[in-house]
């Protein structure tokens, strides 16, 4: 049994007190804040400051969202290296000799953009297979989720496919291209097949507001949409940066 004794009177806030998200724009990243449960902050002086501390691989940034009675909803993140930082919400006293004391704070949690719901549903499946000299292959089925087959001779293929920066940065864009090209070629409207519906919902998260152009007459519009989706996906997951970091670290080991 573990128990915290809060000798300073700090209030433990729930991470659902506020909704915090990273929003990626073309030229910057914003951290957004929305108070879900104002009652959680009752009792704190109105001039207390709201701060969010982000932390990843010993890189730290603290963003100031103003005061409880006049909070900001978005603050630009200076640090460009964060990919999945841990996040902590803090309410800071500004009065008298207790200035700087944390009146309340949350535990840390990992911030993901689509962190609405912890229970996720995977929409791309994995299966090791006998592929000869080929590394991977995408299997698109009519009535079930697509499967990425990985050469079973690769050591720890599941671990490798899920974490190897070379595979992630090069194969994932190719998988998206192949998959959505196939969807647009096979259907002229949303076919309401479960796996396709889920993939379209996924694309909506990656590119909010940009519906898949099933009805576009010009194929170039569909191609452009796919390209934009891949760009957004790559930007979100910093694919080239992952690869470069991996290549740099390989160089150090030599």
């Amino acid at each position: 049994m573990r128990r915290r004794i809060r000798l300073t009177g700090r209030k433990q806030l729930s991470r659902t007190s506020a909704a915090i998200k990273i929003m990626e724009l073309p030229d910057k990243k914003l951290l957004t804040l929305c108070v879900n449960h104002p009652d959680d902050f009752k009792g704190f002086p109105k001039n207390s400051r709201i701060k969010i501390k982000l932390n990843e691989n010993k890189l730290v940034e603290i963003l100031d969202f103003g005061t409880l009675d006049s909070p900001q909803t978005a603050v630009e993140m200076k640090n460009q290296y964060f990919s999945s930082p841990s996040c902590e919400l803090r309410i800071v006293n500004t009065d008298g000799d207790k200035a700087g004391l944390l009146l309340g704070s949350t535990d840390s949690w990992t911030l993901n953009v689509d962190d609405k719901d912890k229970s996720k549903k995977g929409i791309l499946r994995f299966l090791p297979a006998d592929l000869g000299s080929r590394t991977w292959k995408l299997q698109i089925l009519d009535d079930d989720y697509p499967i990425v087959q990985i050469n079973k001779d690769i050591p720890n293929p599941s671990l490798w496919a899920a974490t190897d920066p070379v595979f992630i940065s090069t194969a994932f864009p190719a998988i998206l291209l192949q998959l959505f090209t196939d969807i647009f070629e096979s259907y002229s409207a949303d076919p309401e097949i479960e796996w396709i519906t889920d993939w379209l919902a996924w694309a909506e998260v990656i590119m909010p507001g940009e519906k898949a152009p099933f009805s576009a007459e010009d194929d170039k519009d569909k191609e452009a949409w796919i390209e934009k989706l891949i760009d957004s996906f790559a930007h979100r997951h910093r694919l080239s940066q992952r690869l470069i970091k991996h290549l740099d670290s390989g160089k150090e080991a030599l």
Partner: protein
């Protein structure tokens, strides 16, 4: 007062500091490094291979008394160099640790030659006595001991097996600079005079000196028994070194050597050997650093025992570059996979070639594999001649415990050459390639061994045959609440079964303005129990460390009733707790927050 000589530096360069970086690791507590270095040195100096080497750690605390003449000189020089001296010195008190080994060779070598083992130890830092035929060298061990002392001092008394001579010396780290018109060096030595013609020191050699030194620091000595070894005294050790920590480190890092009778460790009279290993391991389990071992020390010992005494299936690898790939999907491996799946321990003897001085030898190592019990972290350790190399592990170790034992002499010598200074890992630097000269700088064996924890797991983890939707869900997933399906109708939903009633905890925690109170829960019926409460200041991590500089329980207010209590560092061990039990601790720093942990278990004495 016995003389300490603080030499002039003449025109030689100086280097300040003790190269402590290799010990400044957050992943290894200092106690582990200290114990590893001490024991490894003694193992390497083992004399009669048919008997165990014994290493004894003892903690002492006395008035300065007869120890003062041996340290006065060094302390005066420390003060002159404006270096810190513990307050206890001026209060006339001293604490010290003695480390003595038996059935060991002692510090050998020509006492009149600068390049001998003896003078390498005291004067030539960064040099070890390592060649291809003999392990050991005490390369960095002495630095560990210097760091352990608040006055950066070590005094040693050795009786050597080769010539039965006794010799004693001591060193204390100062700092270079101009003092009394002379430019002084970085170290001072317990010796009678400088011997500039040989670039060494003339030691204090009289029988009186040896006898008084032995008595002052309570060395057991070697003359009476006619044996040999090295005895060290470390004055004013840092308090993070403690008996339980030393026992725990010895168990974590040297269990195979203890189990097979190569090593015995005594700590303040507690003898850790093959027969007492299990009992002591259970007692000090909470002090073990590795979580996987700490939470299941019995299993850890069981795996090692199986490796030492169990039946092994031999598998041969001829092409090290391909590793174990050729064995995948063979009938033999499939058979062993079935055994692992039925929770049996599988013992392998892996044989492969190693070229030494142009001749190819077949060397062997032993590995025990077993499925990790549910809810436990994977145990993953490699031991070279009974000492663990804790960084030789699989990057990801899903589901299989693995212990590897390398006792083959040729292979062990090879691996010893590949180990870094701290003997934690197998490395591949230019310096290591030079050491592997007799092996033709062959690094393929090192790579094979380094990959072995991953490759063996890959060999035995069954292939996935159904598509797995979880592998890519970090990139390709949607929240389950928004999966595009229509919500179920009300009548289709089934009420979940009611959750089981929560367990009644034995204790209730009450915060106090500057502390806490644990008191017996009146609703709990399972008395009597034992309990362990640990406290530390929260530091944002899941498991905050405690340091004696955070708080000392002796300086806090403590009250307990309804149990008997033993206090150790930041732990309150309560035995035979009854329904009237309570523990109150106050006096903490009210600008920080406390993290307290409670463990309760039964097997209490009273009914």
């Amino acid at each position: 007062m016995w003389k300490w000589i603080w030499p002039c530096v003449h025109s030689n360069p100086t280097t300040e500091g003790l190269d402590t970086e290799m010990f400044d690791r957050t992943d290894y507590p200092y106690t582990d490094t200290f114990v590893r270095e001490a024991i490894q040195n003694s193992l390497d100096a083992r004399l009669d291979k048919q008997k165990p080497v014994t290493i004894s750690f003892r903690f002492h605390q006395e008035p300065l008394g007869e120890r003062k003449p041996f340290l006065e000189g060094a302390i005066a020089q420390r003060k002159k160099a404006r270096l810190r001296v513990p307050a206890e010195w001026d209060e006339g008190k001293i604490s010290w640790i003695t480390i003595e080994d038996y059935n060991a060779k002692g510090l050998s070598g020509d006492l009149e030659k600068r390049s001998s083992d003896f003078w390498n130890y005291w004067l030539n830092f960064g040099v070890s006595n390592k060649d291809g035929s003999e392990r050991g060298g005490r390369g960095i061990g002495r630095v560990t001991f210097l760091i352990a002392s608040q006055v950066q001092t070590v005094i040693g008394l050795t009786r050597r097996s080769k010539d039965a001579k006794t010799a004693a010396c001591g060193m204390c780290v100062l700092k270079s600079g101009e003092f009394d018109g002379e430019y002084k060096s970085t170290h001072t030595y317990l010796a009678s005079e400088e011997d500039n013609s040989r670039y060494i020191y003339k030691l204090h050699e009289s029988e009186i000196f040896h006898r008084e030194l032995k008595e002052a620091f309570e060395f057991t000595g070697y003359e009476d028994s006619g044996t040999s070894g090295l005895a060290l005294a470390i004055p004013y050790p840092y308090s993070e070194l403690n008996p339980r920590g030393i026992l725990a480190s010895a168990i974590e890092h040297f269990a195979p050597a203890i189990m097979n009778g190569t090593l015995q460790v005594c700590v303040d009279g507690i003898s850790l050997n093959a027969s007492s290993l299990e009992e002591i391991a259970n007692d000090v389990a909470l002090n073990i650093h590795s979580m996987a071992i700490r939470e299941n020390v019995e299993r850890y010992l069981q795996l090692i025992k199986e490796g030492l005494t169990g039946e092994l299936v031999e598998i041969s690898v001829s092409d090290l570059r391909n590793g174990l790939q050729s064995l995948k999907d063979t009938a033999q491996i499939k058979e062993l996979q079935k055994k692992i799946d039925s929770d049996e321990l599988v013992g392998l003897c892996v044989a492969f070639p190693l070229e030494w001085k142009r001749e190819v030898h077949t060397v062997r190592l032993k590995t025990i594999l077993a499925r990790t019990p549910s809810g436990f972290a994977c145990i993953d350790r490699l031991f070279r001649e009974g000492m663990s190399l804790p960084d030789v592990t699989a990057k990801i170790a899903p589901g299989l415990d693995m212990i590897t034992l390398v006792d083959d002499e040729l292979l062990a010598t090879y691996l010893n050459c590949c180990e870094g200074k701290a003997h934690l890992d197998l490395l591949e630097s230019q310096m290591i390639r030079e050491k592997l000269d007799g092996y033709h700088a062959n690094i393929s064996v090192r790579r094979f061994i380094k990959r072995l924890p991953s490759d063996l797991r890959d060999l035995f983890i069954p292939d996935i045959i159904e598509p797995d939707a979880n592998i890519f869900d970090a990139f390709f997933s949607i929240p389950k609440a928004n999966n595009g399906n229509k919500p179920k109708k009300e009548k289709d939903r089934q009420d979940p079964p009611p959750p089981p009633p929560p367990k009644v905890p034995a204790f209730i925690v009450e915060p106090l303005p500057d502390g806490f109170r644990y008191k017996a829960n009146p609703d709990y019926e399972g008395w009597p129990v034992n309990a362990l409460v640990r406290a530390a200041y929260a530091d944002g991590s899941r498991k905050p460390d405690w340091s004696e500089f955070d708080f000392r329980i002796s300086e806090l207010g403590t009250k307990h009733e309804g149990c008997s209590m033993v206090i150790n560092d930041n732990e309150f061990r309560m035995s035979d707790c009854t329904r009237d039990c309570s523990l109150e601790v106050t006096g903490f720093d009210t600008k920080r927050e406390l993290d307290t942990r409670l463990k309760v278990w039964k097997n209490a004495q009273a009914d």
